[in-house]
Symmetry: C2
Subunit: 165 residues, 2 copies
């Protein structure tokens, strides 16, 4: 597959995945340092699993991964959920509500209102930077104080449309 068909979008065009992981992990470290927070080994471990996947993973997928890595210890759900909670709050990962899953953030720490395009075929997720405005403006208009916006668009990505033909 030479000309890796101009894969649709932002987050998922062809890229050096290793390098990407390294950079994002490094950015996460930076963020934590700046904020005087501890990116403990558990937290890092969970983040790394998400970075490695680059796709949404359920909490129990992560748990399984941890238990695969661990030699004998049996890691239990709260450990994962706590790490996820930390990473979410710090904007290092996102939760995909419509899948009960988690995915690493492409702009660590920027608590931007992220938006997602989710392909139901290949399950890949593209994170789109902000984009909207109209929406939040509308909320503002009627005096609604926005905390957090969940924008998740499901469909079929360009690649998968081609393959499906």
């Amino acid at each position: 597959m030479s000309r890796e068909n101009k894969s649709s979008n932002i987050a998922f065009r062809k890229h050096d995945h290793r390098r990407c992981q390294r950079q994002l992990l490094s950015a996460a470290r930076q963020v934590c340092e700046t904020r005087k927070l501890r990116l403990t080994s558990r937290r890092r471990q969970v983040l790394e699993i998400l970075l490695a996947s680059h796709q949404p993973l359920g909490a129990y997928d992560i748990l399984a991964e941890l238990n695969r890595a661990a030699d004998a210890e049996r890691i239990a759900p709260p450990i994962v959920y706590r790490a996820l909670e930390f990473l979410l709050v710090e904007g290092l990962i996102h939760r995909i509500e419509s899948r009960n899953a988690f995915i690493s953030c492409v702009h660590p720490g920027h608590q931007c209102a992220a938006q997602f395009l989710i392909c139901r075929d290949c399950e890949q997720v593209a994170e789109i930077e902000n984009g909207d405005s109209g929406l939040l403006a509308q909320a503002d208009n009627i005096g609604f104080a926005v905390d957090h916006a969940v924008v998740e668009i499901t469909g079929v990505c360009a690649q998968c449309q081609k393959h499906g033909e």
Copy 2:
């Protein structure tokens, strides 16, 4: 439950709730008739529970309500989930992904891409008609074929902001 007067926006400004319920139920009947679908008594029952609440309810809340109504029968989860599935597919209710909950649709059958403003204080939800476009246009631009858009904005509604002061 004197929530009636706290309500703020679009979907929740003060209104004749009884009348609203009746109208929406009638609209649902219409939709089903047109589409040659059966709005069976279970389905109607579930829809009515959602209409009566006008707020998001979890599947198990609905289940509890059914069991309260039923005399002795013990209704089980699949019954509720199946009715919900039907109502969802026909666009008579929506699922609020970020709450694992369901809410009746304000425009039955219009499978419009609905958007929600969710107040984390009073838990009321306003359904906004489409409004957007920028988003979907953006998806379109990169060749992403949209199926379904989840837009759920959490925050504090105007009313609750006042009361909180």
